[in-house]
């Protein structure tokens, strides 16, 4: 079993920043990521992007190249293609690479697993041809592919960004079906003064306006305040139906990219049984963290969107802040030195977060997505519909773990990543209680499937 000072899980902005600082300060740090190249989702493949692609994806993307350069220079060990499938409270990290699993013992673990796209359970969302905006962007970043004639449906900064990038790449979307409500806009207005107070907030909002202007200038059909989204089709998506200004509309398309924002990827912290809390503003659970990213378990820290959605630049600051604290825990810095090291990032983080309440309110997901109608599939692995979840609550089911036992919802290979948020919302609604009371799935190892042979082949301490 290899012993390391720090294992950082996830090579996005938070993980890149954390691993760089840890290694630069002399700690033996390993950065694990499932992808072949550093960058995470936001800076995916940034090292190898062509000049044309860098231009298309813009400065917010190419910024990641600097982070990756610093990682390469720091001396941190970068291990691509590594799937972490379990972390224990004793900071053992079980990781699979090239079909073989091994066990790493870490002094501290920094969980920087970022966000996942919020599941968008609408009728037809399981049909081939329904994808997410994030998936569209992956194709763009890794293969330079842009979808022709796609309909983008939902809301959130990523949806507009993907729309603008498709337009810039010469593949104008067939339409944008914007689900953000008038209530959202009203609620967001309250947070506008704070968002506009700092230069970063103003720049962020300006970028948003520019994106929207670009989309409008392209002549893309843009339906606002859309409701009742339905994907039609038998074998695959053939059309999208929706209600706009009180009238039902239909657009024929084979490709719909859905997006309703992102939520923390809580699989590791849930499986560790760290304390979590419901974040009403972001409509998601997140691990309970102190100002340094410490979870309720000693030596387990979270940095970046995995601790609550903050955005890429803020995640980078959070990664460096968590690294400073990890260095203190490892005995490499005293508290005063830690505070000095983290001070610039604390200021940077605060500046980045000023705009967040405005964005959270503006892009709050619609109720129909949070708590879909009875006939909508919520658990894709086990084909469980929303109505079945409501039924078992009527039969006495109090929480998601009982729903799992009743219905098998959340028992498939995705370990509940896709259905967990929705099942919990449905139970809370049916019981008339808050999400904190309902709780979440207990997440059991392995976090990702591992074969019997691979598990059998792990070399244990006594044999090493």
């Amino acid at each position: 079993m290899a012993r390391l000072d720090a294992v950082v899980i996830g090579g996005g902005p938070a993980g890149l920043a954390a691993a760089s600082v840890l290694a630069a300060q002399g700690a033996r740090a390993v950065l694990l990521d499932e992808q072949p190249a550093p960058g995470g989702q936001i800076y995916r493949a940034v090292e190898t992007a062509s000049p044309a692609l860098l231009k298309l994806l813009g400065d917010d993307y190419s910024w990641g190249a600097g982070l990756v350069d610093r990682l390469r220079a720091s001396g941190a060990e970068w291990r691509p293609g590594s799937t972490v499938w379990q972390v224990t409270p004793d900071r053992e990290v079980w990781v699979s690479r090239d079909g073989r699993s091994e066990l790493l013992q870490a002094g501290v673990v920094v969980v920087a697993t970022g966000a996942i796209e919020r599941p968008v359970p609408i009728p037809g969302w399981t049909l081939p041809g329904a994808m997410t905006c994030g998936a569209v962007q992956i194709l763009l970043k890794t293969a330079g592919l842009v979808p022709e004639g796609a309909v983008l449906a939902g809301s959130g900064p990523l949806l507009y960004l993907v729309a603008a990038q498709c337009i810039a790449a010469g593949a104008r979307p067939a339409a944008i079906l914007d689900t953000a409500t008038a209530d959202n806009a009203r609620a967001a207005r309250r947070h506008l003064p704070r968002a506009l107070k700092g230069a970063i907030g103003r720049a962020t909002l300006m970028k948003g306006f520019m994106l929207q202007a670009q989309i409008r200038a392209s002549g893309t059909e843009w339906y606002r305040r859309v409701t009742d989204l339905v994907l039609e089709g038998t074998e695959a998506v053939e059309a999208v139906r929706f209600v706009y200004r009180g009238r039902e509309q239909r657009i024929a398309t084979g490709l719909v990219a859905l997006h309703e924002g992102i939520i923390p990827n809580q699989q590791i912290t849930r499986s560790l049984d760290c304390a979590h809390q419901w974040d009403a503003a972001q409509r998601c659970f997140r691990p309970t963290l102190d100002a340094w990213g410490n979870t309720s378990l000693p030596g387990i820290l979270v940095a970046g969107d995995g601790g609550g959605i903050v955005g890429a630049r803020a995640a980078e600051h959070a990664g460096r802040i968590a690294a400073a604290e990890a260095l203190r825990q490892l005995g490499r810095l005293d508290a005063a030195a830690r505070d000095r090291l983290a001070a610039p990032d604390r200021a940077g983080l605060a500046a980045q977060l000023a705009v967040r309440p405005f964005l959270d309110a503006l892009f709050a997901p619609p109720a129909a997505v949070l708590r879909p109608a009875d006939d909508v599939v919520v658990c894709r692995c086990e084909a469980v519909r929303a109505g079945a979840v409501r039924d078992v609550v009527a039969q006495g089911c109090l929480g998601p773990n009982q729903a799992k036992s009743f219905l098998r919802a959340g028992m498939g290979p995705c370990q509940g990543r896709m259905c967990g948020p929705v099942v919990c919302e449905l139970i809370a609604e049916a019981r008339g209680v808050g999400l904190d009371e309902v709780g979440y799935y207990r997440i059991r190892p392995p976090l990702k499937p591992v074969t019997v042979a691979e598990l059998a082949g792990v070399s244990l301490d006594a044999e090493a």
């Binding site: 591992v450 019997v452 059998a456």
Partner: protein
């Protein structure tokens, strides 16, 4: 909520729910309280084996009787319990295991039991074609099978409620005393009052016995399970090891459930348990060795649940030795699921008739004095 009843059952696992059902069927006024939710621990997360095979001889009469109830259980509770008669086979992979199974078969024949049958290698490989070559034979119980533990427990709970029992979850019994010939049980919902007290508290049953002045050396434990993604059908019966800690079965949907007694870490205070991955590595090695076809199967989930063990590996079932109108059924030592229905009936007979025809002497609580 009315806090009194003729019979108060503490503990909502399969034993308590079955007791509630069998008593309610006879018209008794039953209140079952469960500190958490029904089937939260051993009853909801066990491997689901419905097994007479290789049971302690003391348990065999109960287990055989239980199997008769199992055959009609889904009709009785009017629900699908995932019950299937698939057979269960113990595999002898070496000479020592074969000797043990042969001796077992002789012993069961001597006692007059016919449900376990010794088979040689030819028949073993007919039944388990995917088994690694070189095994010597097995012991088979063709009438055994498996069921879905959580669905079964919840179906029995629902049937008990339909029959008139009251089942209350989220109520923790905390203090036990008898006044004027009635039980006064302190609980998180107030004082519960009853003529008869039944302790089906599972891993927490020892605390109730202790409160009644008859402590037992009950040790909490956390058996672990793994389940794979679906693989093509290769195994009809449930397979169990003899000296190797192994049990596994393939469900109708193709998933394979691997258990077998490797233990995780229980926490009876927080009411959670965690898996010990190092032991699951050993478990995976046993499976990979005996069933090479399983090597490529993807494990999608592992879990553990809180159970408990008594030193002699059999439960306490019967009247309290210290208090009148109190009965116990707990400490099933990792194999209580199949016995659930018969234990429920036995408890109903003890409470309502004052006795049962089944031999309970080996299970008396006094054995730990």
């Amino acid at each position: 909520m009315r806090l009194s009843a003729d019979v108060l059952i503490v503990g909502g696992g399969i034993q308590g729910c079955s007791a509630a059902l069998f008593m309610a069927r006879r018209g008794a006024d039953v209140l079952l309280v469960e500190k958490n939710s029904v089937g939260r621990h051993a009853s909801g997360v066990n491997a689901g084996g419905v097994r007479r095979l290789l049971r302690d001889p003391a348990e065999v009469p109960l287990s055989v009787e239980a199997m008769k109830i199992w055959l009609g259980l889904e009709a009785l509770v009017e629900a699908d319990c995932g019950f299937k008669v698939s057979g269960q086979v113990a595999v002898a992979a070496d000479a020592a295991e074969w000797d043990e199974l042969s001796a077992r078969a002789a012993r069961m024949a001597e006692l007059g039991w016919t449900h376990e049958e010794l088979i040689g290698p030819d028949e073993l490989y007919d039944v388990l074609p995917a088994l690694v070559p070189g095994c010597l034979g097995g012991l088979i119980a063709r009438g055994d099978g498996f069921a879905s533990p959580y669905h079964t427990t919840m179906a029995i709970r629902a049937a008990a409620i339909r029959t008139g029992a009251r089942v209350v979850e989220g109520v923790r019994a905390t203090g036990f005393k008898r006044e004027g010939g009635r039980w006064q049980v302190a609980s998180s919902a107030g004082v519960l009052e009853a003529r008869v007290l039944v302790n089906t508290g599972g891993a927490w049953g020892g605390a109730v016995a202790e409160a009644l002045g008859e402590p037992v050396p009950l040790v909490p434990s956390a058996p672990m399970m793994m389940v794979t993604a679906p693989v093509p059908a290769f195994c009809e019966p449930v397979v169990i090891g003899v000296h190797r800690a192994l049990s596994f079965k393939q469900a109708q949907n193709g998933t394979v459930l691997i258990g077998g007694g490797h233990l995780g870490v229980p926490d009876t205070v927080a009411e959670t348990s965690s898996v010990d991955l190092r032991k699951l590595v050993i478990s995976a090695r046993t499976v990979a060795e005996l069933f090479p076809v399983m090597r490529s199967a993807a494990i999608v989930r592992t879990w553990s649940g809180i159970e408990s063990r008594l030193p002699d590996g059999i439960p306490v079932i019967g009247p309290s030795s210290t208090e009148a109108d109190a009965f116990h059924a707990f400490g099933f030592s990792h194999h209580g699921f199949q016995l659930g229905p018969v234990v429920g009936r036995i408890l109903s007979e003890l409470v309502l008739d004052g006795g049962t025809n089944l031999p309970l002497h080996p299970f008396r609580i006094e054995r730990f004095r």
